[in-house]
Amino acid sequence: MVDLEKSLKNRRWQRRLSPFPHFVANDVFADNVYHDLEAGYKEIMARGLSDHPDPARFSRSVSGYDVYAFNFQAGMPEAFEILLSRQWHDMIAAVAGIEATGDVNGGFHHHAAGSGNGKPHNDLNPGWFSGEPSPAGINLANHAECNYHHGTSKKSHVVTRETVRAAALLIYLNNPEWKEGDGGQTALYRVRTQDVEAADGHAAPINNSLLLFECTPHSYHAFIGNRYHPRNSIIMWLHRRVEDVVNRWGPRAVVKWPT
């Protein structure tokens, strides 16, 4: 049973308004919880890196993005149970101010030193799921069963369901001490067309810190290239119903994935 009262160290997260509403917090988890998360991350890293898509280890599986990624999946180290709990899901949804479906996708991102900049994007993308969340649990994306981007399935009996990303959460861990000039931040922008290096805000990859924001048409963000050290993080998304997005921002707001 996850006990967030005991697991959280920082009960004062900052809600910032510029360049778009987002939350940042340092010292998020209690020391023992953070230690276990970092140990779990290292355990997966120890399986090695693959330059070709490989669901069993960190691999170059995100098209057009200079990252090694590993998706959340069954059989992960026990330390990550907290992030896959309904309590965590509901807390993140409450902080972000969203009505979430209980569907979760996420994973681990490793940017080797010297990784290039990303491009500003808003994460207001579709997320497809099979299965349903239970009131007491979450529904974790099953990539073997359902293509998260397009909802296709190799199994004919699988029914898939479209949602839209509602909140994005980054947790920074297993990084060397960060200082100005190292790069590796998550940069925040007012508009998509801004020069990636001319951000209006940053979240630095400081261990045991987080960045959280509601995915909206204006939540532009990008990875800033890390010059000297690797950058490691956990990324996860909560989701909302398609009609909620259409009612709020219109039918063209959702940014479809490339086919």
Partner: protein, 259 residues
């Protein structure tokens, strides 16, 4: 706070360097006593302001004491032409006056050798402008725009606190602090002259000279030093905060002539 026509009036503080350790500590400790205009260059102060508030992730609707009496954060480069007038005009527009000016913005840059001026001239001049001339210009701008009534100034105990350093009083050899030290020594002496001139208008000017914080002194100690000078009645004094405690270091005023 002061009673004026039966209403409790909070004093207004124009604080520079609000995004630094000292500025943030001052905001945190004294945001209930002062309406603070918190001027920062790159990083907003880590306190509640119009830009950010705090949220308890496990009780998002809870009223948190940290969110009461938010500071008003103003981003500005005080070394830019117009930067000084810009922040003074904002302070006057927002709160109608300035009772306390705290010059806590500082450039801590160190240089290899004082003899190696030419290769570092531009950077050295930047340091001099921020550490020496900006504090003096700010006081001049507030004086010309608001401190026009001696009686009001005295009854409100209006004052300036310039944050200097023990490096402006003694030499720390081999620390690369030659120009920094000179800038703080210059600030001390300009403050003495300013104290003499502004006393005619009923405004006090003092200097705080702390040793290194947060290593040798706690940042809160230094913030309380600022408040001691602001709340007291001293004029033209240096409050030295050092390893062994604190003491006042007065100016020596010539009885006549000039040096």
């Amino acid at each position: 706070m002061e009673a004026k026509e039966g209403i409790l009036m909070k004093k207004t503080c124009l604080l520079t360097g609000a995004g630094g350790r000292l500025g943030t500590a001052f905001c945190r400790l004294f945001h209930q006593k002062y309406n603070i205009i918190a001027v920062y260059r790159n990083r907003a102060p880590d306190v509640a302001s119009q830009l950010q508030q705090y949220v308890d992730p496990l009780d998002v609707d809870k009223d948190l004491p940290e969110n009461a009496d938010p500071v008003y954060a103003v981003q500005a480069n005080l070394s830019d032409p117009g930067g000084v007038d810009y922040v003074v005009d904002i302070a006057l527009a927002k709160w109608g006056g300035v009772d306390l000016l705290v010059n806590a913005a500082g450039d801590l840059a160190r240089f290899n050798s004082v003899c190696d001026f030419d290769t570092q001239a531009e950077r050295i001049m930047e340091q001099m402008i921020l550490n020496v001339f900006v504090p003096i210009r700010l006081a001049g701008a507030v004086a010309s725009k608001f401190w026009r009534n001696r009686s009001d100034n005295r009854s409100a105990n209006r004052s300036v606190v310039n944050v200097s350093s023990t490096a402006g009083l003694k030499v720390y050899p081999g620390a690369g602090q030659g120009y920094y030290s000179a800038s703080k020594a210059a600030l001390n002496f300009l403050s003495f002259h300013e104290a003499h001139e502004l006393s005619a208008m009923g405004v006090r000017v003092n200097v705080l000279a702390p040793n290194t914080f947060p290593t040798i002194l706690s940042t809160d100690q230094v913030a309380h030093g600022v408040e001691e000078l602001a709340a007291g009645d001293k004029n033209g004094e240096v409050l030295v905060l050092d390893r062994g405690g604190q003491h006042y270091h007065g100016r020596e005023i010539s009885s006549g002539g000039y040096g």
